[in-house]
């Protein structure tokens, strides 16, 4: 029966995703919590704050973007740890959905015959530009 197999396949895929979540979220949250409790989160945030402010993000936004290079799930873990507003969440989500997992995806694109390095460069430019515009367009903080 088609429907039954469909649901089983869907659940199988979902289980894989949940395993991925466990694999990536727990270590990411742990690392961030260690940074937070040791005072390094604030230091890193202060370092990146001036750059991040162009796209309306606090300095911690840099950590979310870096985590996004591991997987999007790690970025989500970072978003759950860092204290940010809805506007900032929306901006940083847009940033990491446009530019993430660059090592893996560059490899995939190169393998498929595209110019992975150029494309990742364009993605970074796109992410910065779009978030810069969003920061102006979205009202509030």
């Amino acid at each position: 029966m088609v429907i039954k197999q469909t649901i089983i396949r869907g659940i199988n895929n979902a289980l894989k995703v949940i395993l991925d979540l466990i694999k990536y979220i727990i270590p990411a949250v742990f690392v961030l919590k260690v940074l937070e409790h040791s005072g390094w989160l604030v230091r890193i945030a202060d370092l990146f704050g001036p750059f991040m402010s162009y796209i309306g993000l606090p300095g911690e936004g840099a950590l979310i973007i870096v985590m996004g290079q591991v997987t999007l799930y790690s970025a989500i873990a970072a978003m759950a740890v860092v204290d940010i507003t809805v506007k900032q969440l929306t901006i940083v989500s847009t940033f990491v959905t446009i530019f993430h997992s660059f090592i893996l995806e560059t490899a995939v694109i190169n393998k498929a015959g595209g110019n992975g390095f150029m494309i990742i460069g364009i993605r970074v430019i796109a992410a910065v530009l779009v978030c810069f515009i969003l920061n102006i367009l979205i009202p509030g903080v």
Binding site: V2, I3, T6, I7, R9, G10, I11, N13, A14, V17, I18, L21, I22, I25, I26, V29, F30, K33, V34, H37, S38, L72, Y73, I76, A77, M79, A80, V81, V86, L89, T90, V92, S93, T94, T97, I98, L104, E105, V108, I109, K111, A112, G113, G114, N115, G116, M118, I119, I120, I122, R123, I125, A126, A127, L129, V130, L134, I138
Partner: protein, 159 residues
């Protein structure tokens, strides 16, 4: 540093995040599986052939792009590699396509997941789609170089 606190907070945040994601992702993936079953992507790709040709890509590219847009880059690259063998795209066409889908892929899953953590999903998704069209079109217009066919430049992949 208070390690007990670190572990407790790690556990709490991880658990609540994973739980939230699970509740959202499971029904979603079953839904996508169902849509695949009824062949909606093939149907949609027939309609989008014209759009694909408009941006200088072969009409056959529409299917590969739809797969990647909705499902994801890693899985979709398999479809693209197969398509490349059948259609024979130029390097420029291939790069145009990868700019589109590099900026914007797995939109359903990723948008919903980020909505779950509190972002405005509509804004995230619309920005991505617009950015992919903007940069894809810019590249298609400005990259005049390299119209050599992938078939000629990398014959090995065709074996």
């Amino acid at each position: 540093m208070n390690w007990a606190e670190v572990f407790m907070e790690t556990f709490e945040i991880s658990f609540s995040t994973i739980f939230k994601m699970t509740v959202i992702v499971v029904p979603l993936l079953i839904g996508i599986e169902y849509l695949k079953e009824i062949g909606w992507m093939e149907k949609l790709s027939v309609k989008l052939r014209k759009v694909s040709e408009l941006i200088g890509l072969p009409g056959e590219a529409a299917f590969g792009m739809i797969v990647v847009y909705f499902i994801g880059l890693v899985f979709g690259s398999g479809v693209i590699i197969r398509m490349k063998k059948e259609v024979g795209m130029t390097r420029k066409q291939l790069n145009t396509m990868f700019i589109f889908i590099g900026i914007c892929h797995a939109v359903v899953e990723e948008t919903i997941v980020f909505t779950a953590v509190g972002a405005n999903g509509v804004i995230v998704m619309v920005s991505r789609v617009l950015a992919s069209f903007l940069f894809g079109l810019l590249y298609a217009w400005f990259a005049k170089h390299d119209e050599t066919s992938i078939r000629k430049s990398s014959g090995i992949e065709l074996e």
